[in-house]
Symmetry: C2
Subunit: 420 residues, 2 copies
Amino acid sequence: MANETMKFTRLEEMGQLARKAETQLAQLSNQQRNDGLAAMADALVANTDAILAANQQDLTNATDLKASFVDRLTLTADRINDMAEGMRQVAQLPDPIGSVDKMWKNEAGLMIGKQRVPLGVIGIIFEARPNVTADASALSYKSGNAVMLRGGKEAIQTNIAISDVLRKALKQLGVDENAVQLVHDTSHEVANEMMALTGYLDVLIPRGGRGLIQRVVSTAKVPVIETGAGNCHIYVDQYAELQMAVDITVNAKVQRPSVCNAAEKLVIHSAVADEYLPVIAAALADQGVQLRGDERACAIVPSMVPATAADWDEEYNDLIMAVKVVDSEDEAIAHINAHNTKHSEAIITDNYQNGQRFLQQIDAACVYINASTRFTDGFEFGFGAEIGISTQKLHARGPMGLHELTSTKYIIYGDGQVRK
Amino acid sequence: MANETMKFTRLEEMGQLARKAETQLAQLSNQQRNDGLAAMADALVANTDAILAANQQDLTNATDLKASFVDRLTLTADRINDMAEGMRQVAQLPDPIGSVDKMWKNEAGLMIGKQRVPLGVIGIIFEARPNVTADASALSYKSGNAVMLRGGKEAIQTNIAISDVLRKALKQLGVDENAVQLVHDTSHEVANEMMALTGYLDVLIPRGGRGLIQRVVSTAKVPVIETGAGNCHIYVDQYAELQMAVDITVNAKVQRPSVCNAAEKLVIHSAVADEYLPVIAAALADQGVQLRGDERACAIVPSMVPATAADWDEEYNDLIMAVKVVDSEDEAIAHINAHNTKHSEAIITDNYQNGQRFLQQIDAACVYINASTRFTDGFEFGFGAEIGISTQKLHARGPMGLHELTSTKYIIYGDGQVRK
């Protein structure tokens, strides 16, 4: 056991094992990959007691952690069942691998096809949610990728238990168990080493709070897909319907305030602010939202706290919303583009041109007319899964499902062509 | 002028100017972008004398450089015309921006469209070819991206002259000239600073030799698209036609040996090696190719130089080819996957299953049946342009044209939807 632990702190060796597993994985059929997912799901349920015992160790050690943190860390038999059910649902999704997106004949007569292939080896760095171990393993496996997981130290016993169960299930099927590997050493040094593991990791996806993501982005040598930060805006245009503005603003703010697609800012046109803002503010206050207004907003709704300059860039992830009054859609767009995190933005309007202009000019992964920003989600988009929400422009932007865990290769059919 | 130079060594300010230009660029119509390209092309030709004078300064300073290097650095009126013609051809290409790749209705009734948008700001780090300044500016501008260029110090006067001409042409059209910016300070410190310019550069594309690319990959914090390295193989299967094997091997090796899609290795099945290898070797020798064989290859063609272990990983970019004899397709595939740079690989075979297996199991950007690897090229693929050939799996793989310089955003049409 000591030797095993030693072995798994050696990241380069893990990288070599992952590359070896990748080669086998790339050749598995969709049915074989689905069988693996079913076996892993069954094994999770069958080993509920062992996983809960490991989780109990982590919880015993978690004495000085916040209640919300402990909640994310805590597993129950139901939660383990949910993880297994999630794996089975991933198995039901269409095969993301092998399809040829397009094929054409070039001037030399070559048939050139662009085929979907796995990315290779995916690194995931995450915090305290042990369900990420199962979720990320399922999505990686379904898409033919090997995965290297590094979770927070607070969940290490649980993550070891879960990953051991998944690996054993794969091994029993005759699949290379290194398709799923967990980094057992949770030190920062080893995390930094993992972020520099070019040559073995094709991409690194951090999952967690802003601090983790920023640390990975600024440290990693491996290509990173930046996820998560969401300073999202609702812009209530002068041509907005009042009731729709109320419903969408309240939904975007309070339906689940802790997540990245929740709205943090309300921008409202001065032509309707006097009439609409008191109604919207009252509806938000009813839900316990603290409002922070610019000078004009505070003049209309005096109960608002005056906003500071820092408010416009802050992601509260809480029942707080800052409000700005603008005199034109242009001013709204300029404000949003200057302060948003390129995640999700919405306009409420009945004016065709204003809606189209907002869609075109706002720089964000997801831009909405007359809908809540809370829809930015792989499941809501119909992808059937989500590994995160990319706020960068390279490779993937917006909700990432199985498709975003793939790459392509050109397959080219010739009959003796040489280049002239 | 001194102030201007000072200003343009300040990378962060350049980044801010690029972001500002990006906002304007994203709103230009295809016709406006094409007008800009035409104006830049005309300006290059109109300023031929000034550009040649600057080039002469660089050449005067280039006393201790290799002849091939000086050749790449040297401009003539014809070469400037070619640059201008290249810009005009880019203008003819279809608009890569604005199209909606797909649009669907989700369960909540939202219409979700995935629209092509510019990446934003593209950084290019390159060596001595001043035509990169014009080429990269044209491709970036056509795709609605601002570009920040950093060329080698040997070409700095030429690059300043070209970029000044391009910027002035844009300014005269009323376009933000910071769509094209050149880093005037060619020190390594400033190059390193540019590679760390996250927040301002959306992607960094190195163009040049292996040393440059490796330095960028290992130094950059900005996401890099790795290009160029090509240790490409031709595998002559036991079911290959001899004449096709000769023609393709010779073409792939000698048609332009200095480029990344030229073949460096010949792998041949032992069942045909005795008959085929002497013929292929003679054809290659006729073209001045030095052959380096493994033990079995040397036994068949004794004039071959014995290959060393290092040969299998080397990219010669020269009239040299190493030859390995294998006993099965599996052995060929394992050898190629162990030593290739994931660029371009070809099998010569008349056997259906062997061809399909090779396509599926080889891990490379481009995998060919019965064609020369020299076709891996944006123009040959029909993209009408090429910014490089990606050998990584994230974002872009294989020849990169205008499409690869774009990202997407989701545009979402609702009618009041809120999340339940």
